[in-house]
């Protein structure tokens, strides 16, 4: 019973006689016990003793299921599903998707039972070539169902920890309150002059009132609030990870829109002639005209000329006032002080 009837087909060891025996399977789906594997595949590769198909030692895995055929099938399935991972979103109708699923199932079936393997392999190769990019994309993408499950699990976990905390707290609180009430009663009985009976009666009332309140409070709390991850319409709040392979677009800050206003220069001197009129005023007569290469780059002689004029005139009226002024003011104050004194 219960797994004790497992037998190694090679050395006939049973799980019953050797509880430490571990059965291994390889790609062909035939089981061998661990020691047989070591013995037969000492060189690293060899043939399966049952079906004579060439196997590598590294590919031996521990048999998970009671039926080694299932192990084999799951193995193949995993391999195939890595490639054939189209989702329902990739198809326009459900019917097409179902047809696709059936085809995948057929392929797996053929591989497991070695039916028509050359054709099947050809088909797989074709598919691989044709759908390379979809496959790659889907590999990084979880299906809708998986996401749902994941979310459920996460919510469950969060809920559990939160609830455990809140209940422990509530219980502690309750204990504390009881303890307090009791102490208060004893204190009152010790020190108060009132009738002991009335004190006890009032205490009973108080505790009853408290007991009434508590369930209400618990009901109000209504269990810890679970952080909702969806709007009421079912749309996710916030960005979900793993849904797209793109980098998230950095968020831009909202600033007031830009308005252009021409800069006003304070030349602190006589205003130089504007750049447009330099030609008319014959300023260019004395400077080198821009050659063809310079003009191709957007340079004109007006630019440098304008710049030179601005530099020449800027700051002509400048008087270093501030420093001077304060000195004068200070001396004036001094004199004032002296007068008053």
């Amino acid at each position: 019973m219960d797994g004790n009837d497992q037998t190694c087909p090679k050395c006939k060891t049973t799980k019953y006689r050797n509880p430490a025996m571990i059965l291994m399977v390889n790609a062909c789906g035939h089981a061998l016990c661990e020691s047989c594997v070591e013995l037969l595949f000492a060189k690293g590769s060899g043939a399966c003793p049952e079906c004579k198909c060439p196997l590598r030692r590294n590919n031996f895995r521990i048999q998970l299921f009671e039926d080694p055929a299932v192990d084999k099938e799951v193995d193949i399935r995993k391999r195939i599903l890595k490639e054939f991972n189209k989702r329902q979103e990739d198809f326009s109708t459900l019917r097409e998707y179902n047809d696709y699923l059936e085809e995948v199932e057929n392929i797996i079936f053929n591989l497991v039972f070695d039916v028509d393997s050359t054709n099947t392999n050809k088909m797989i190769d074709n598919y691989k070539k044709e759908n390379k990019d979809i496959t790659m994309k889907n590999r990084n993408r979880q299906s809708q169902e998986e996401i749902e499950l994941e979310e459920l699990l996460e919510a469950e976990k969060a809920q559990q920890s939160e609830k455990a905390n809140s209940y422990v707290n509530a219980e502690l609180e309750e204990k504390k309150q009881k303890h307090k009430a009791r102490e208060k009663l004893i204190d009152e009985l010790m020190f108060s002059d009132a009738d002991a009976k009335s004190i006890v009666a009032s205490h009973v009332q108080a505790t009853a009132a408290l007991a009434k309140e508590q369930p209400k409070a618990a009901a109000q709390a209504g269990g810890p609030v679970v952080k909702s991850s969806k709007f009421s319409s079912g749309i996710q709040i916030g960005l979900r990870q793993n849904t797209s392979s793109f980098l998230p677009i950095p968020k831009q800050q909202d600033l007031p829109l830009f308005h252009y206003s021409a800069p006003v220069f304070d030349y602190n001197g006589p205003s130089p002639p504007a750049i447009e009129v330099l030609g008319k005023l014959k300023y260019f007569a004395n400077i080198r005209a821009a050659n063809a290469t310079e003009r191709a780059g957007g340079y004109t002689e007006a630019l440098s000329c304008c710049r030179a004029l601005q530099e020449a005139m800027g700051g002509l009226f400048y008087i270093p006032q501030s420093g001077h002024k304060t000195a004068v003011a200070a001396s004036a104050e001094e004199t004032d002080d002296m007068e008053t004194a």
Binding site: D2, G3, L64, F65, E66, D67, V70, E73, V74, R77, K78, L81, L94, R95, Y97, N98, D99, Y100, L101, E102, E103, V104, E105, N106, F109, S143, E145, E146, L149, E150, L152, L153, E156, Q159, K163, Y167, P215, A218, A219, G222, G223
Partner: protein
């Protein structure tokens, strides 16, 4: 009646606690029938759900009486059709099939004779046997509806014999137009059956759940699945059978498989429209959108589906190979099954549907072999459909025998409201009633509905015919309690024994004792042997014990009844929550006293219970302790109620545990018991208890005739119409 009428007027649900034996059934039936007559458009049908076949028969008898009365008073035939429905086992009249003892076998054989493909084969080849009764019904039965009247199970059989029609299918067919249908809870609550039987019951019906104190457990059981190692091994075998059948069929007759395949491509809806007899395998509730979708491509062809089943089975087997207890949510299970064997959620959801379709296609007529696979397919569908309110617990061994490996996977429903929700949503009025529903406020919480009326009624009695007492200590003043700490205490056990012996000496005829569990019963009885209490007891009365074996128990019961009948007197030791406590009445001399030894708490270490308590706390804000006490007290009340089956009956109720006298326990007893439980009777010792019972018994033993009751608990027509009474009634109506 007043409250019931209010509920009917408001088209809402109600919760009524009425003491047993006070005419609960008659009241319900007569008012609802009268209401149906007065408002034929608002109320078309009464669905009366009870628990067992004898109870169903009882209801039918009441109904027959009511109809006779109507006929006598109105002087004409009434145009009302009422019938009882039960399983094939109870209704079959086929000469050989009806001889079978087990319900499942009868169902299987019936299916083998009436399935559409069998009949199709019969049309071509006369050697294929079919059921003549079904053929008769199919040919003529549908055109001639059952004439109005009252039909219990035997009447149906007789009618079927006379006409040559199958009574089971006749009853099933008649449900749609009968005015009153009486059947078991399961036909309505169990989604697997309800889908088939109760689908066409109209919205304007009243549903009555009688004896509904355990309704939450029924709901939970109907949605839970238990998978053992043996079941899985059987599954592997049946998968092999399936494989060979499919390959045979492929070689010989590929047409049928092709046809099925085509149908599945189109969608399940069509697959679902099948002949009524083909509904032997039914599916757990599926959201209707799934039914309209097509079967996923992964399980469309028969071979693929069988391979898929194989993977599911192998996966569950690996899960059963655990060394320690595992508890996980359905979501966790789904993720794991996806990782381990690449099974998505969607095809899992379709498993049950697809499996029944396959069985139909393969024309397998003997279904009994495949019941393990049916269980697994239901499990697969349920686990992928519901992610909330369920939990999966895998236990490698039983708690009591940790060395014996016996892995079990429990897929346990935690939320009793899931199964009953469709019932509340669909029908305009649902009446939940029982003799013991206290505390009433718990039921709306755990079943998640809003009753318009919620009342507990008491009895008007001409004499104090029940004597509830709480015995808290023995003659030696040692407190009596079944608390875990004092369980093994010899003083407590001896005191319990002395109490029983003294009560047995004082009380005539039958005494029923209830213990908290089989284990407790056994330990106590064994130490009573050592202490010589059994010998003392047998000087007064014969002793019978309930065991876990149903056959043994019924034998003990028969002899107990015999001993009570011939005046020898007997004591029956039984267990709360056992078979005796649920549905066997000890009226009159069969139960003059009921003793409740200890408070019948459930086994709190059970993981399923723990999970459920947690769920109740999280979802409905019901504290663990509150629920446990509620559950214990309703079972205690149920046990106590066994001895009172009517107004002329009388009985002593002894609650032998110190803890019963606490306010939180006492207040949870039904109102009709509380009313008689005086404060002076709440903290008695054994001898005080015996004193009181002796005095009371002497009083009760006086002749008690119908005339004594008149004017108090029984009214003649004149009294009812007297001015004073009319005023009283008027006042009550005003107040309410």
């Amino acid at each position: 009646m007043l409250e019931l009428k209010h509920a009917l007027d408001a088209k809402g649900h109600c919760l009524l606690e009425m003491p047993s034996g006070t005419g609960k059934t008659t009241t319900l039936l007569s008012l609802i029938v009268a209401y149906m007559k007065a408002h034929p458009l608002d109320l078309t049908k009464l669905v009366y759900c009870s628990r067992t076949v004898p109870e169903i028969e009882k209801v039918m008898e009441e109904f027959r009486k009511l109809m006779n009365y109507y006929e006598k008073e109105m002087g004409m035939e009434q145009n009302i059709l009422g019938l009882a429905l039960s399983s094939r086992k109870n209704l079959c009249i086929h000469p050989s099939v009806s001889k079978e003892r087990e319900g499942k076998v009868v169902d299987g054989r019936c299916y083998g004779l009436t399935a559409s493909f069998v009949r199709a084969r019969h049309a071509g080849d006369d050697a294929v046997p079919v059921c003549n009764f079904y053929e008769g019904f199919d040919a003529h039965g549908k055109e001639f509806p059952l004439p109005p009247g009252v039909y219990n199970l035997d009447d149906l059989k007789e009618y079927g014999q006379a006409k040559g029609w199958c009574p089971y299918f006749l009853a099933r067919y008649t449900i749609t137009h009968a005015n009153i249908v009486v059947y078991s809870y399961h036909y309505l609550l169990d989604p697997k059956i309800a889908e088939v039987v109760s689908k066409e019951i109209s919205k304007t019906s009243v549903v009555v759940f009688d004896e509904a104190h355990n309704i939450d457990n029924v709901c939970i059981d109907s949605m839970s699945v238990k998978i053992t190692k043996r079941l899985m091994d059987k599954c592997s075998n049946s998968i092999q059978i399936l494989e060979t059948t499919i390959s045979n069929m492929k070689e010989n007759d590929n047409r049928r498989l092709e046809k099925e395949y085509q149908r599945l491509v189109e969608g399940l809806r069509d697959a679902n429209i099948a002949r009524e007899t083909d509904m032997a395998l039914v599916n757990p509730v599926l959201p209707s959108e799934i039914l309209e979708e097509a079967v996923p491509g992964t399980i469309r062809t028969a071979e693929h589906f069988v391979a898929f089943l194989k993977r599911v089975v192998e996966y569950i087997k690996t899960r059963l190979r655990v060394q320690h207890v595992v508890q996980e949510s359905p979501a966790g299970f789904l993720r794991d099954i996806h990782i381990k064997v690449c099974i998505d959620r969607k095809p899992l959801r379709f498993t049950a549907e697809r499996f029944s379709s396959l069985i139909r296609t393969l024309e397998i007529s003997d279904l009994t072999d495949f019941s393990p696979l049916v269980t697994v397919s239901h499990f697969a569908t349920l686990v992928s459909t519901y992610t909330k309110g369920f939990t999966i617990i895998i236990e490698p061994f039983e708690d009591r025998a940790p060395t014996v490996s016996n892995p079990i996977l429990y897929f346990s429903c935690l939320d009793s409201s899931i199964a009953i929700k469709p019932v509340f949503n669909r029908f305009q009025t649902v009446v939940i009633t029982s003799g013991t529903l206290s505390p009433l406020d718990m039921y709306p919480k755990i079943l998640d509905f809003h009753p318009v009326i919620m009342t507990s009624f008491t009895m008007t009695l001409a004499r104090p015919c029940i004597l509830p007492m709480i015995v808290s200590k023995g003659n030696d003043q040692v407190a009596m309690s079944s608390r875990y700490e004092t369980r093994e205490d010899t003083a407590v056990i001896r005191n319990y024994g002395n109490l029983l012996v003294e009560v047995a000496a004082a009380v005539p005829d039958g005494i029923v004792c209830f213990f908290t569990s089989y284990l407790y019963l056994e330990t106590i009885v064994s130490s009573w042997y050592d202490q010589g209490i059994i010998d003392q007891l047998q000087r007064h009365k014969l002793l019978f014990i309930e065991t876990q074996d149903a056959a043994e128990t019924s034998l003990a019961l028969i002899n107990y009844i015999k001993a009570c009948d011939n005046g020898r007197g007997a004591v029956l030791l039984s267990v709360a929550r056992g078979k005796v406590s649920e549905g066997i009445d000890f009226d009159h001399h069969l139960g003059r006293a009921v003793l409740m030894f200890g408070i019948p708490y459930v086994y709190t270490q059970s993981r399923i219970l723990r999970a459920r308590l947690e769920y109740l706390r999280d979802q409905f804000q019901i504290r663990e302790n509150d629920f446990l006490t509620f559950d214990a007290m309703r079972h205690a009340a149920q046990c106590l109620g066994r001895c009172m089956r009517g107004k002329t009956d009388y009985g002593i109720m002894i609650l032998a545990d110190k803890r019963f006298s606490r306010a939180d326990k006492r207040s949870k007893l039904p109102k009709w018991i509380q009313e008689h439980l005086k404060d002076t009777n709440c903290n008695l010792s054994t001898e005080e208890c015996v004193q009181i019972s002796k005095r009371w018994l002497r009083q009760m033993a006086q002749p008690f005739s119908r005339e004594d009751q008149l004017g108090i608990s029984l009214l003649t027509l004149e009294q009812l119409q007297s001015e004073e009474m009319q005023k009283k009634i008027h006042q009550r109506a005003q107040a309410a």
